[in-house]
Every structure is written in C-alpha cells, then in structure tokens.
Amino acid sequence: MKLDWSVVTAHAGDLAQGTALTVLMAVLTMALAVPGGIILALLRLSGSRVLSGLSASFTDLFRNLPLILVIYAAYYILPLALDLQFSPFTTGLIALALNVSAYNSETFRAGIASIRRGQGEAALALGMSRWQAMREVILPQATRRVLPVLASTWVSLFKDTSLVSVISVGELAYTAMRIRSQTFRVLEMLTAMAAIYWALGYPQAKLVDWLNRKYGITE
C-alpha cells in the first residue's frame, strides 16, 4: 500500500479551521461547565432537600448517559421542546456542557467536602455569612485541590468534542472524516487527525501539571 501524505497538506487550511473549532468548542464548554459544576455542587450541599435532589438528579442523569446519546437528544429534542432552532455548534456545546457540568459537580462536591470544617468555622467566626465563607475561604481552596481532576476532565473533553461531528459540527474530526470520504485517503487522514489531537492534548496535560505544581496549596 502506498501512502500519499500530500492529501494532508492540500487540506491543511480546512484542518486548521476544524482544529480551531475544536479548541473553541472545548474552551466554551469548560467556560460553561466550571461555573455549572460549582452551582450544581452548591445546590447539592445547600441543605435544601428540593435543591439538593434536583442537583443530584441532574448529575445522575447526565453522568450515566452516553455522551453521544445526549448529543443526538439535544439535536433532535431541543428544537421540538423549545421551538428554537440552534446551530449544530450551539447544540453540541449545550450537550457537552450538560455532560461536563455533571462531572464537575461531583468534582467540586468532593473538593468542598475535603476542606476541613474548621476553615468554614474560622470564616463564620469572623462574622462572614455562609456564602462569604464559601466564596472567600472554601471554594478557592477546593478549586486548587481539584485542579488535577479538572485537568483530566479537560483532556477528556478535548477529545470528546470529536463526538459532536455526528451532528455535523465542522470541528476537527468532522473535517478530517469529510476529507477522508472525498479523497479515500483513509489512513493518511486518520493519522493526521490523531497527530493533531495528540499534539494539542499533550502540552495541555503538561501545562496543567505545571499549573498544579505552581498554584497547588501546601498546608
């Protein structure tokens, strides 16, 4: 079998565009799912049975559904349910954000629970409200403590964005698959795609390791 790598260079512009969309999708998802996860975790720990139950149901639902199913569901059900037509990009973003928020919720819940009780008490003893204690004292520590988990969620998410190609969002996977079916250069395109994902993912993982070393708190 003869490999022809010129197909990759010939479509470099398309691949670059797809890559940009993949990065954008991952960044926007995390930008939604970090606050989303924090809000869900706070609801879960709120002490209100209703709010805590709602948050737990949300998390249990989205953590236990295959992501690809959530993406399809968002694609077919959202327009019917809300009578709104979203672009494939927005639909994919919503599906990913729901999924990752559910994971981040558990991450932050564990992080908050790991901060020893005396920290919250010290904040309350200064006269802070429960919310101020959470915002000023507990969350900053919890966030640093869960950085490694958020980092691995990020790296998973970066690769999982490829799943939104099933609803024809023109990100990296979709673009590479399209070129593959137009040119029949299967191995070359799959290899190029793998190389791009890896080349982008690896430094991210290293960057997060470094951030973790630099900003991790020592007690």
């Binding site: 005396g118 309350l124 802070m128």
Partner: protein, 249 residues
C-alpha cells in the same frame, strides 16, 4: 480596673451531642475587662461553652446573653454577634491560600467592607503588635505554629472585638513556641481585653486570669481567683485534677 457589668451571662446552659451531655446546666457571668480561664479534663465542656458563645454550636437549653440581650438564632443576628467576638482556634485555621497579611485583612474587607488600603493599614498595625510585621507576605505553610497562632490572633483582633475567645490556643504548639503566643495573650489581657481562655497552661491561668473556672462533666465544679483554685481549692475534684497535671496544691 474591672467593670462590674457583665458582658456575657450564661444561664443554665445545656448542650447535647446525641446522648452525650456536653453542658449540663452551666451558669456564670463574665465582666468587661475580665480574663477568665476555663480548665478541666478533656470532654468536660469547656470548648463547647466557647463554641456556644459565638453560635458555632446551638444550645439545647438555657440562654447566653451578650450585654443583656439573648444571643439571636437567625443568621443575620448571629453574624452581628460574631463580629463583636474574636475566636482563636486550637488548630489556628489560618486560610492557607492567603498571606499572613491577607488573612488579617479578611474580616475587615469581607465583613466590614473596609477599603483594601484601610484594611491593610489595620492589618499591618496588628501584625506589628503580635511581632510579625516582617512575615506579612508569608503564607501560613511557611510559618511556625506559634507564628501562625499569632497571625490568627491578629486576624481575630482585626474585627475590633469586645470579647476574645481562645479555644486551647497553645495545645497544638511545640513547647518552644507556646511562650510567644502566651505573651501576646498576656499583653492583650493587660490592655483590658475581655478574654475567655480554655487552656491547659496552668502557669498562664495562675498569672494572668482574674478568675479560674473548673469544669467537669459539663458542669462548673468550682470557680474563684487563681490563688483559691491553685493553692486552696474548695473541691476535692479540683485538687485531684490539678494533681493529675502535676500541680500539687
């Protein structure tokens, strides 16, 4: 120099943890500018009484009055009360993600809404007072236990409290750093701060306290000036407790 009007009044205070009776009808008064040491065996209710005083634990009976007004139970009222009392914990509980200076600024900035500049000036003055101005930029992890506890005292003082509550402030310290913390507390006492100190430091209690209160099994078994408690206790259990600590009365 002591003022006769009680700032804190405890009346028949009861507290349960499950079936365990932590406080079994405690009544006492604390006057303004008075220094009170609470002593007694572990689990006798001393720390619980302190934690009830600023609402970290809720009572199951009786009441605590601050300036004659019963402690409120609503969160807003409780916050207002806590701002008038400083609390120092056994395990320091400095915020590890903030420098010493930022720790001391926490209360003034977040609770009192002071500007950063004013809060910083206040915090620097307090760090100076506890002898740690040169450690302002250090994080708690880089301070010794004694230094951390002194920062914690400064943090509590930054709210300009009327009463300071110390919950075994030296129990987690290495022996060589206990003295520096006790000296800061002694200085506060000399300045006229109202203080309730749960402690096992009998030398401190003897030299600094105006009154020593002895707890056992959730009750006050004896109270009086240090000379009485340490030299001529009226209750046998006080004597045997002090003997147990190596204090032969």
């Amino acid at each position: 120099m002591r003022d006769a009007t009680p700032v804190l009044t405890y009346h028949d205070v009861r507290k349960l943890f499950g079936n365990f009776v932590a406080l079994d009808g405690v009544s006492m008064e604390v006057s303004r500018r008075e220094v009170i040491c609470l002593i007694g065996p572990s689990g006798s209710g001393k720390s619980t009484l302190l934690r009830c005083t600023n609402g970290l634990e809720l009572l199951h009976g009786g009441e605590i009055r601050l300036d004659g007004i019963p402690l409120p139970r609503d969160p807003r009222g409780m916050r207002a009360v806590r701002q008038r009392m400083g609390m120092v914990f056994q395990s320091f509980e400095l915020f590890p993600h903030r420098t010493a200076l930022a720790n001391v600024m926490s209360g003034p900035v977040t609770v009192l809404g002071l500007s950063r500049r004013d809060a910083e000036a206040r915090a620097m003055a307090l760090l100076h007072k506890v002898g740690l101005a040169d450690k302002a930029a250090s994080y708690p992890a880089n301070l010794s236990g004694g230094q951390q506890q002194r920062v914690a005292i400064a943090r509590a003082l930054a709210m300009e409290p009327e009463v300071m509550l110390f919950d075994e402030p030296t129990s987690a310290l290495d022996p060589e750093t206990i003295g520096e913390v006790l000296n800061v507390m002694k200085q506060l006492a000399e300045e006229g701060m109202t203080m309730i100190v749960v402690t096992h430091e009998m030398t401190f209690a003897r030299r600094v306290a105006h009154r020593v209160v002895v707890f056992e099994r959730g009750q006050i078994i004896e109270q009086g000036p240090p000379a009485q408690i340490f030299d001529a206790p009226l209750v046998d259990r006080t004597r045997s407790f002090l003997n147990h600590l190596g204090w032969a009365a």
